[in-house]
Assembly symmetry: C2
Homo-oligomer: 529 residues x 2
């Protein structure tokens, strides 16, 4: 062939690739890029390539197969050594749209908060010793004063199974052979988190790792939903998020329990007080930031009302009415409604159709708007109830989809999400640790992006997974694709604001603040951050 | 909500699901089903559900996490216990469109064939003992008589590294401490296959398992490409395939080496003799089958000419000219052209554009038609050279795509494959063992089917993976989806014939034969096979 035939081929090829990528935000909006943004994107690609063949290609203790985008629980130690990660910690992330508030604070910090509370007690189903420590979970509870016999510590042979012990005493008396107080901390944080051995060896399938995942909630719930901890927990979550460059949050909160425990150890704090506390923390932080001249970093936080998919359709009506009541009193806090829990195991959305349609009718009656933000398709199933939840989420007019891991299987649903602008809240690290994907290169995210579906990256349950903030999730996405670069990360951050429930004015303001930070960020990268 | 609101919702829902699945062959052609086919599909779904909650939910020795669609190398022992598998072995599979001939015969059988050849010799880079046996590979070669010093056996301390030993002597003298002759067999078959520990532990990433995969070819090539074995090898492959219900084959054959070894131990048998032998075996088998009254089970086999992606673009021109010459002499055997090897590591198609365009021009000149059947997108990469091979395969007018594992990322390419009818040769078990997917539920096949892309299931390299025939691949696909049932398996079998290179007359006849076998098969299932 002549040179010109090959040249003609290469021209057609370039046009073909562009055509295939035309639905991607980074390609679609290519004309609007500044030279600085383009330069920063190039710098990031260079660092990524360099680190792929240096840091990731090197030897790492206890890591058999290091590679970019590898399993987070083993690769995390390598990630934090990279320059790419350090840069990403400074990236303005936009909004965090999918995070379960009650699983969003580092386990060590939660334990520290718990240790400050004399009312918090702990028990175990058997005395803790070298044989039982790995298989026996701590159970926490806030108890009223004097409502327990403060007998032996958990590791003392005389410990009576299921006797409550104050958390400080349990820690202080924890057997030195098990590490003493630090051994106690390890035992508790082990119950609050998933470790690599659990995720990648002993529980290495979706149903098995979900059991462990649910256990972490069983352990943390009595601590998080204790009013004196609640406010501090929220504060910690928000501050960590802000420090990671997140400027707005829509947190999912589980309202399954109708009351949380109060300082008196009684289960008597109703939902409206949860929201009052939440509102106060948000406002306090905004005030604090203002005093520090950082008010542009955080525009606020709202709550997506959640309950769990094991309740009956009749029970759901109590929650939807409760949600309406809260929305009326706190219209600025309630941002949406969702049903959570393992889709593979629990009731599908279609079981609740009557109640959910009624919920929508009631909103109309009351002049309220509480968009659905359904978890759907968080599954490996094909045509299972969990996969089919996608149909119901869309038929019910969901504003966004939580996970949508199985969405790409569905041509009609892909088209609807693109055309109607239904954003997918993608949780890369969560999906990997919960074994929907073995590592980031197997994740369907590139398909979603290429098909023009709006996407926001989310952390889901950072307390359990250790992916605090959004930097880790952005990192995993960036290193697992040659197409995606910094510009596409920026587009996902923009989409997180665009598809939030902020009203148009607030959205415009938040986007404006973000764009200014983004400009500074790309400028700094270009000048050798 | 009233009952009628919910009923109206459910009607909309059913229509929505049908709409989403309208591109699937099983849904698209639903009107044409016989009652018998529908009944058989239902029976298969019942058996699948029963076995999911019985066999797969039970305890299995050495299998930590049994589940339907699990890793084939560990799950295979469970698969063969199922009734579903036994039924699938009897299914008429249609055509096998993607199988590397030189990796398609059980390793034990190849070893048996080799042991019948006095010319076959073996050597090792060090004496084989308990310390070296696991890490030292056997190397085979056909040698002319007297062209070697037949010294010590491989396991004898006096063995001189890299000395050739006749295979029978090497086997006969193999150290009893290493299992004697059976230990030799184990050593050799271990080098010809991938074991679960290699795939799922020590080499558990795509690049690492590819190294082992390539080693199996290095070991087998001198045996397979030895003329006295060649014909028997082909016969074994074809008979195994026919016995599994495959009625037509387009086998990929590597023509990288310009000569194979002849019975005299000289490398002097040219490509045209490879084809003559192939043709003879095919005809002999057809004659044999006719004598047995089984002529309807097999219509023939053709060859897709392959060379490897590490040759230079200039070298490629020798092969394309060779392919043209063979096509002129054996128009009924040469079915297409492909370039093989690890796409992640070797040259991308775009490197060869000049030569490939010239190849097409030369076909035009000579009035020949040798369609491309390119491997493309057999990768986890996103925007890497291997992923980008898909663009070139399609721009070059490939008739089918080998693997297309990354195809679903590409909206334009998905559209083209659907609209132009470009079939994807999906190799489920190969993809899983080569670690593109951790198990079948993570495989993108359901997406391809739902998007209306024609698909044929293929075994790829059954000698290495142990997935002889197509029953195992069909099994893995069937158990990993609730949507796919027997009817969809039948549609994939039909597509394998429809997208073969058979001419219209032969295709019609083959399809007719298949349909008759299919009718009998579904009838038997309905009546309790």
């Amino acid at each position: 062939m002549s040179q010109s035939d090959v040249a003609e081929y290469n021209a057609r090829r370039a046009a073909f690739i562009n055509d295939d990528r035309a639905l991607r935000p980074d390609y679609a909006n290519a004309a609007g890029r500044s030279a600085v943004e383009i330069a920063a994107d190039r710098v990031i690609r260079e660092i990524r390539a360099f680190e792929a063949s240096s840091i990731w290609d090197g030897e790492h203790q206890n890591i058999q197969h290091p590679f970019p985008g590898m399993e987070f629980l083993t690769g995390g130690d390598v990630i934090i050594q990279t320059r790419l990660f350090k840069i990403l910690t400074k990236m303005p992330k936009g909004a965090l749209l999918h995070a379960h508030l009650e699983a969003s604070v580092n386990a060590q910090v939660l334990l520290r908060l718990a240790l400050q509370q004399p009312a918090i007690h702990v028990r175990a189903a058997k005395p803790i010793n070298a044989f039982t420590v790995a298989s026996t979970l701590p159970e926490f509870k806030a108890l009223p004063k004097d409502d327990f016999s403060d007998g032996a510590g958990l590791t003392e042979p005389s410990y009576v199974a299921n006797d409550w012990v104050s958390i400080r005493k349990a820690r202080g008396t924890f057997d030195q052979a098990l590490g003493g107080p630090l051994g106690f901390d390890k035992w508790v944080t082990g119950a609050l988190t998933i470790n690599p051995n659990e995720a990648y060896r002993t529980h290495n399938t979706v149903p098995k790792i979900w059991k462990k995942f649910q256990e972490t909630f069983a352990t943390s719930t009595p601590l998080v939903f204790f009013a004196p901890i609640w406010a501090d927990y929220i504060r910690e979550f928000l501050i960590t998020s802000i420090d990671d460059g997140i400027s707005y949050i829509e947190a999912r909160v589980g309202f399954l329990f109708k009351y949380m425990y109060g300082p008196d150890g009684q289960e008597n704090v109703p939902h409206r007080e949860w929201l009052i506390a939440f509102d106060k923390v948000v406002n306090d932080i905004k005030d604090d930031l203002k005093k520090q001249g950082r008010e542009d970093e955080f525009v606020g936080a709202r709550i997506i009302y959640c309950t769990v998919r094991f309740i009956s359709p009749e029970e759901l009506e109590w929650y939807t009415e409760d949600c309406l009541t809260l929305k009326q009193e706190f219209p600025h806090i309630i941002a949406g409604f969702d049903l959570v829990g393992s889709e593979d195991d629990l009731r599908p959305l279609v079981d609740y159709i009557g109640s959910l349609l009624r919920f929508q009718a009631r909103q109309k009656e009351l002049g309220l708007d509480i968009p659905f933000m359904f978890h759907a398709g968080e599954t490996l199933g094909d045509g299972t109830k969990a996969d089919d939840n996608l149909y119901d989420a869309l038929l019910l007019g969901t504003k966004r989809i939580g996970h949508g891991f199985s969405l790409m299987k569905h041509p009609k649903l892909v088209q609807i999400c693109r055309e109607k602008g239904i954003l997918i809240e993608v949780c890369p690290i969560s999906n990997e640790i919960l074994r929907l994907t073995s590592s980031m290169p197997m994740h369907p995210l590139p398909s979603l992006i290429n098909h023009g579906i709006p996407v926001a990256l989310c952390s889901d349950d950072s307390a359990v997974f250790g992916n605090m903030g959004l930097s880790f999730d952005f990192f995993q996405v960036l290193v697992a694709s040659e197409v995606t670069g910094l510009i596409q990360l920026g587009e996902m951050a923009r989409d997180s604001i665009r598809y939030s429930t902020l009203d148009e004015e607030a959205k415009g303001r938040t986007m404006g603040l973000w764009e200014r930070r983004w400009d500074r960020f790309v400028e700094e990268i270009g000048t050798g951050m």
